[in-house]
């Protein structure tokens, strides 16, 4: 009975031991199975004897595919051999290596080895742990690429900087060697650049004026005429002539520097037009003198021919009379040309309006109207004079000059109208006196409309239909009207007719009169 009890006690102890052993086996298995770090155990011969699931996962080989295989299957042969040898010598090694997966893919890993020995110091093998460096390598690669990209950007920036400096040098060279004077102001109205030509033109030194404000510079005598001409605020393109001193004339231009819709300053250029002005003046003087010199003999010829035609020197034969009439008409054309040339020279000399008076404009037209009727009758044209108001205010005009304009416009209408009607209208519109001449004539070709007020210009169809004409009439008319502060323009359709208009501003003292009309 006692023996049985002892056996029963022993069996209980054995059961406890077996239970503990089973749990211990399970614990060791779990520890190895759930370890997230890939580990394998390799025999001294380099045979894989054990591999945990993490190792299977990284290598993509199953447990049975790994165990019993040479470790050289997973790592570069020479390098792993060297690592095993070093591990046996140094007990542990920590190196970067590649692991080959089942699909022959290479994964960068950090390899950690540790020697395993038994109690008698016999080498049983080595543990090989690996750490996947893929993400780290990727990060490092990304970092390297970013660094490289940054270096490239820096390189590009340097290149751009050099290029910008080269461009700046080039621009400065251009500015410094430019034949015109250049002044550059920044957005704060400070002079930042001035080229040598400007120094030469204005007799100033760049280092004495650069950095000064527009207002400060206006105090400098050599700069004040220029800066006063330009004014304080430059918003758009500006172009004016400046008579800087005797015989020195600059064409002054100014343009704002706008970058991305923001005004960054402005440039002023000085173009020396002194020589051109001198030549122009000499030419005008020459024409003026020539015309004056021509007028006297032409007048003498005119009156001599008139006397012949009037029979003051005896009767002429029919044939003689025809020749003398042709000579008379040719002389008349010559006189008109000379008069036109004289008018042009006066316009260019700026001494055209000499006798401004308050005049009754309608009366001027009425005075001239019979002549227009006679010319129209000769061409079998109807002519009409319309006054849109009963009363008209006086206008401040140079009577003789305004008559030139009216005569030019109405005679042109008659000359270039083969058949139909001429309508002259005077009215008050928008505080201006508006004069218009409408014809049913040849019209002005579309492509030549822009040049119709140019000096010596005659439209192609005008030349064909009317050989007379100097090409100065409309140029003179435009200058006369603009000198009076008015505007001149036309509407025309080739083959259908033309209407010329001009306005003359009403005097302020007649404002009450205009109100009474309304």
């Amino acid at each position: 009975m006692e023996v049985e009890n002892i056996l029963e006690e022993d069996n209980k102890k054995i059961d406890i031991l077996i239970e503990d052993l089973t749990l211990l086996e399970s614990y060791v298995r779990d520890l190895f199975t759930f370890l997230p770090f890939p580990i394998c155990f390799v025999s001294p011969l380099g045979i894989i004897l054990e591999a945990n699931p993490a190792f299977q996962e990284i290598s993509h080989f199953s447990f049975s595919e790994l165990v019993g295989e040479s470790v050289e299957k997973l790592f570069p042969k020479e390098e792993i051999q060297k690592i095993i040898k070093e591990t046996f010598q140094e007990k542990s090694v920590n190196k970067e290596l590649k692991i080959f997966t089942k699909e022959k893919k290479e994964i960068p890993v950090q390899v950690f080895t540790k020697i395993r020995k038994d109690e008698n110091n016999n080498i049983l093998g080595l543990f090989i742990g690996v750490f996947d460096l893929t993400e780290i390598k990727k990060f490092q690669e990304d970092q390297r690429k970013t660094q490289l990209a940054l270096l490239n950007i820096l390189e590009d920036v340097d290149k751009e900087k050099i290029r910008a400096e080269e461009e700046k040098d080039k621009t400065l060279a251009i500015i410094n060697n430019f034949p015109d004077g250049i002044l550059i102001f920044n957005e704060e109205n400070i002079l930042t650049l001035l080229n040598p030509k400007t120094e030469n033109f204005l007799k100033i030194k760049a280092n004495e004026v650069i950095g000064k404000s527009f207002q400060e510079l206006k105090e400098i005598p050599s700069l004040s005429p220029l800066l006063n001409l330009i004014g304080d605020k430059i918003t758009g393109i500006f172009r004016k002539e400046l008579e800087y001193s005797e015989n020195i004339v600059f064409q002054v231009s100014s343009i704002p520097i706008i970058i991305k819709d923001i005004k960054r300053g402005y440039i002023i250029t000085l173009h020396d037009v002194s020589r051109e002005k001198l030549i122009e003046r000499m030419k005008t003087e020459f024409v003026s003198i020539s015309a004056h010199q021509l007028r006297t003999p032409l007048s003498a010829i005119k009156w001599s021919l008139k006397m012949l035609l009037d029979g003051d020197l005896g009767d002429l034969t029919k044939e003689q009379k025809e020749f003398v009439e042709k000579a008379y008409l040719s002389n008349e054309r010559m006189i008109r040309l000379v008069n036109d040339l004289l008018n042009v020279t006066r316009i260019e000399e700026g001494r055209f309006l000499t006798n401004l008076k308050a005049e009754n404009f309608v009366e001027i037209v009425k005075e001239m109207y019979p002549n227009f009727q006679e010319l129209a009758r000769k061409k079998n044209l109807a002519i009409e004079f319309i006054l849109k108001q009963d009363k008209f205010p006086l206008v401040l005009v140079d009577r003789e000059k305004i008559k030139i304009v009216i005569q030019n416009l109405v005679e042109n209408a008659i000359h270039y109208t083969p058949k139909g009607k001429i309508t002259i209208t005077v009215e008050i519109k928008d505080n201006n006196l508006l004069f218009s001449v409408k014809d049913t004539g040849i019209g002005i070709p579309e492509k030549q409309k822009d040049r119709i007020f140019s000096r010596f210009f005659r439209a192609e169809n005008a030349i064909l239909s009317e050989t007379e004409g100097t090409g100065l009439g409309l140029f003179i008319s435009k200058n006369i009207i603009e000198a009076h502060g008015g505007k001149i323009w036309f509407e025309s359709k080739e083959g259908e007719g033309t209407t010329f208009y001009f306005t003359l501003p009403l005097e302020k003292e007649f404002e009450e009169f205009i109100k009474s009309l309304v």
Binding site: T22, S26, G68
Partner: protein
């Protein structure tokens, strides 16, 4: 497999560690899944020897008849050939706990040879396994298993088991194991002849 054969196998004296059965079932689990294991469980229960995969105590001792019935059921259910059984033995070597414990003796063939009988005893309470000859130069070894007659199919598993162990031990690319003597063929013991290259 019928109840009669099962009963006969259960009458074989001796015990085995739970791990020997568990290792076989682990292999089936890997290649056939839990469903495969379930088929064995059902058949075992049908034969009157119920056993649940998760409940096998790896370190405990079970009647050796359980191991024999398990092997024959695996062969029958999954239609395993002798070669399949040998492969099963090879695969199980790698996952065997006792093989892992044996690893520490893989320092040399001699130390390993000394440990083999002890390792057998860790698996089975009957039978004696020894390496009677081992020649590293000529690359052959002879293993003898005495007093152990479970079933002829079990010999196939042992062939795989021994071959794989030696393959890992020597680092050889190929190990061939032949059973040169078998108690089921009238010999007094089992003898396995292993060569490698």
């Amino acid at each position: 497999m019928d109840k009669e054969l099962a009963q006969k196998l259960m009458e074989i004296k001796g015990e085995c560690r739970g791990i020997t059965i568990k290792t076989d079932w682990d292999y089936i689990f890997r290649i056939k899944g839990r469903e495969g294991v379930k088929k064995i469980e059902e058949k075992m229960a049908e034969l009157g020897y119920p056993l649940k995969y998760e409940e096998i105590k790896t370190m405990d001792f079970y009647p050796i008849g359980y191991d024999a019935i398990s092997i024959l059921l695996i062969k029958e259910i999954f239609n395993f050939t002798e070669k399949d059984l040998e492969n099963m033995g090879r695969e199980e070597t790698k996952s065997s706990l006792f093989f892992r414990l044996l690893i520490r003796y893989l320092i040399s063939l001699k130390t390993f040879a000394k440990e083999v009988p002890k390792t057998w005893k860790k698996h089975y309470t009957i039978g004696d396994l020894e390496i009677s000859e081992i020649d590293e130069k000529n690359k052959y070894a002879v293993l003898k298993l005495k007093d152990f007659s479970l079933h002829p199919e079990f010999c196939q598993i042992l062939k795989g088991y021994f071959a794989e162990t030696l393959k890992i031990l020597t680092g050889a690319s190929e190990v061939i194991c032949k059973e040169t003597k078998c108690t089921f063929k009238g010999d007094s013991e089992h003898e396995f002849y292993l060569t490698w290259k």
